[in-house]
C-alpha cells in the first residue's frame, strides 16, 4: 500500500474518532435523550462488561457460528447448482427464469415455512440463514458460468477438453470474480438472517440480546450489540477482500 493510502486511512480513522467525539458531545448536551442513544463511554462499558462478566462473548460466538455454518452450506449448494445450471444452456433455459424470478423474494418470508418444519428452534434459524445465503451464491455463480468468453469455448474444443476439464480450468476461474461478488452479498444476508432469526425465536445470540435490551430500554447494551455485529461485518469484509486479492491477482494487475 502506498504512503498516501496509509496516510488517508489514518486520517479516516481520526475522522471516525472525531465523529465519536461529536456523538459524545450530542449525548452529553442532552440533545438526544440517553435513553434513546447512549454515550460512547456507556456503550464501551456495556460492551466490556458483557464480554468479561456477561455472556456477550458466548452470544457473539453463537451468532458467528450460525452465520458461518449457514453460509458454508448455502455456498456449497449454491456454487454447485449454479455451476451445473450456468454451464448448460438447456438447464439455463428451463431453470434460469424460475430461479431469477425468486431473486426478489425476501429470504425472511421463508421463516413461517421454516417454523412449520423445524419449529421455533436453532435449526430453523440455520435453515433461514442458509436460504438467505443460497440465492446470491446460486445466481452469481450461474451468471459467472454463463458469461464465459465464447472464444474460450473454441479454444477448449481445439484442445479436446472434456466438459469437466472445461468447467474446472476455464469456466470456474472465469466466473470467480462474480462468485466472489456473490459471496459478499450472501455473507451479508447470512448475518442479517442470523440476527433476524435470533430476534424472532429467542435462541442465544447477539440478536436476541439486543432485542431484550430494547424491550428493557437498555440502550447501552443495544449499541454494544451493534458494535459486535459491526465487528463481524467488518471482519468478514476484510477476509473476503484478502481472498479477492489473492485469487483475483490477475485482475488487479491489469494495465
Amino acid at each position: 500500500m502506498s504512503k498516501a493510502r496509509v496516510g488517508w486511512y489514518l486520517a479516516s480513522l481520526l475522522f471516525g474518532v472525531a465523529l465519536i467525539l461529536v456523538w459524545k458531545a450530542i449525548v452529553d448536551a442532552r440533545l438526544i435523550s440517553p435513553v434513546f442513544v447512549p454515550s460512547p463511554e456507556a456503550t464501551l462499558r456495556s460492551l466490556v462488561d458483557g464480554l468479561l462478566e456477561g455472556e456477550a462473548a458466548e452470544l457473539f460466538r453463537a451468532t458467528l457460528m450460525r452465520m458461518i455454518y449457514g453460509w458454508l452450506l448455502a455456498s456449497i449448494v449454491g456454487v454447485g447448482l449454479g455451476a451445473l445450471v450456468g454451464n448448460s444452456p438447456t438447464a439455463r433455459a428451463y431453470l434460469g427464469p424460475t430461479l431469477e424470478a425468486l431473486r426478489p423474494l425476501p429470504a425472511s418470508a421463508i421463516i413461517p415455512v421454516a417454523i412449520a418444519f423445524f419449529g421455533l428452534s436453532d435449526r430453523m434459524v440455520l435453515a433461514v440463514v442458509a436460504f438467505g445465503a443460497l440465492w446470491p451464491m446460486l445466481l452469481s455463480t450461474m451468471h459467472g458460468f454463463q458469461r464465459v468468453e465464447p472464444r474460450l469455448f473454441e479454444v477448449a474444443r481445439i484442445y479436446h477438453m472434456s466438459r469437466l476439464e472445461f468447467a474446472w480450468k476455464i469456466a470456474l476461474p472465469s466466473a470467480l470474480p462474480e462468485i466472489l461478488a456473490g459471496a459478499r452479498l450472501s455473507l451479508t444476508a447470512s448475518l442479517a438472517m442470523a440476527v433476524a432469526g435470533e430476534m424472532l425465536v429467542g435462541v442465544d445470540g447477539v440478536g436476541q440480546w439486543m432485542l431484550n435490551a430494547g424491550r428493557s430500554y437498555r440502550s447501552a447494551e443495544i449499541f454494544a450489540g451493534l458494535a459486535l455485529l459491526a465487528t463481524i461485518g467488518v471482519g468478514t469484509s476484510i477476509l473476503l477482500g484478502a481472498a479477492e486479492r489473492k485469487l483475483l491477482r490477475w485482475r488487479q494487475l491489469q494495465r
Binding site: 479454444v155 484442445y159 480450468k169 472465469s174 490477475w250 494487475l253
Partner: protein, 264 residues
C-alpha cells in the same frame, strides 16, 4: 527454385485437401466449390473482400465447422473435428488467452491438453517463451502485456501443440504497423525452424505477399476461389529489400487490381 517448382518436382502429397467443399449457414451459401491443396511447409495466404468467407474457410479447416458438401482430407484421412496438430491463432488474442493464468500457465494449457508429462513441461514452456521473445515475461498475466506480446503468447501456446498446420485468422490485424512487421519476421523465422504449414488470412495485401508462397484470392457471395497468385520471391524475406523487389511490386499491383474489381 521456388516452392512451387520443387513441389511439382517431388510430387509431394498435400497436407490438407479440400475437395468440392460447400457450406451454407442459415440458408445463405457461404462457400461454394472450394478446391484447395495445402502442401507441407507451405505458407499460404488468403485475401478477399469482406464477406468472402475467408474466416469461415479457416474455421472449416480448423474443424470448428463441418462442411456441408465435399470433403476435407487431412494427412490422408477425413477431417471430422479439431485436431491436436492443427492450431489456431485468433485475431482477438485478449479473448483467446486465459487472463487468470500467467504466460507460462497459458502455454501449459496446450501441454495439459496434449497429456505431456509434467516433468517435461517447464522445459518446453521455457523454450517456447524463448522462441517468441517472452522469456522475461513468464510470470506476467496477459492483462499486463501489450497487444504484440499477447499475440506472441498466443503463438507460443499454439506452437506448444507441435502443429503441422498453423491456421491464423488476421492475427496481426489489431496491432500497429511496427509491431506487425516485427511479428511477421518472427513468424517466418519460427516457421522456418519448425517446418509447419501456414494458412494465413489477412486484409493486408502487402502482408500476404511478404509472408506467402501463394496467395489465394476469394470472391464473395458466395465465397469461392477466384485466383491463385504464386509468390516467386526468394527466402528469407527482408522488410526493406523484399518489399522493393520488382516482383513484389508487380504482385502488389495484381492483388490490388483483384481486390478493386472484387469490391466493385
Amino acid at each position: 527454385m521456388t516452392r512451387q517448382e520443387s513441389e511439382a518436382a517431388s510430387h509431394r502429397q498435400p497436407l490438407v485437401s479440400l475437395l468440392d467443399v460447400n457450406l451454407s449457414l442459415g440458408g445463405i451459401e457461404i462457400l461454394r466449390n472450394i478446391k484447395l491443396d495445402l502442401f507441407p511447409g507451405e505458407f499460404v495466404c488468403v485475401i478477399g473482400p469482406s464477406g468472402c468467407g475467408k474466416t469461415t474457410l479457416l474455421r472449416l479447416i480448423a474443424g470448428l465447422f463441418r462442411a456441408g458438401d465435399g470433403r476435407i482430407i487431412y494427412r490422408g484421412k477425413e477431417l471430422t473435428g479439431p485436431q491436436h496438430d492443427i492450431s489456431v491463432v485468433f485475431q482477438d488474442y485478449g479473448k483467446a488467452l486465459l487472463p487468470w493464468r500467467t504466460a507460462a500457465g497459458n502455454i501449459a494449457l496446450a501441454l495439459e491438453a496434449n497429456g505431456t508429462p509434467r516433468a517435461d513441461r517447464p522445459g518446453i514452456i521455457a523454450g517456447l517463451l524463448e522462441k517468441t521473445g517472452l522469456a522475461a515475461h513468464s510470470d506476467k498475466y496477459p492483462g499486463q502485456m501489450s497487444g504484440g506480446m499477447q499475440q506472441r503468447l498466443q503463438i507460443a501456446r499454439c506452437l506448444a501443440q507441435d502443429p503441422q498446420l498453423l491456421l491464423m485468422d488476421e492475427p496481426f490485424g489489431a496491432l500497429d504497423a511496427m509491431t506487425r512487421q516485427g511479428l511477421q519476421d518472427e513468424l517466418l523465422a519460427i516457421l522456418a525452424s519448425t517446418g509447419a504449414t501456414a494458412f494465413f488470412v489477412t486484409h493486408d495485401l502487402e502482408e500476404a505477399i511478404y509472408l506467402g508462397d501463394r496467395v489465394i484470392g476469394l470472391l464473395p457471395h458466395p465465397g469461392r476461389v477466384a485466383e491463385v497468385f504464386d509468390v516467386p520471391l526468394p527466402r528469407p524475406r527482408h522488410q526493406l529489400e523484399t518489399r522493393e523487389d520488382p516482383e513484389f511490386l508487380r504482385l502488389r499491383r495484381e492483388l490490388a487490381r483483384f481486390i478493386t474489381l472484387a469490391e466493385a
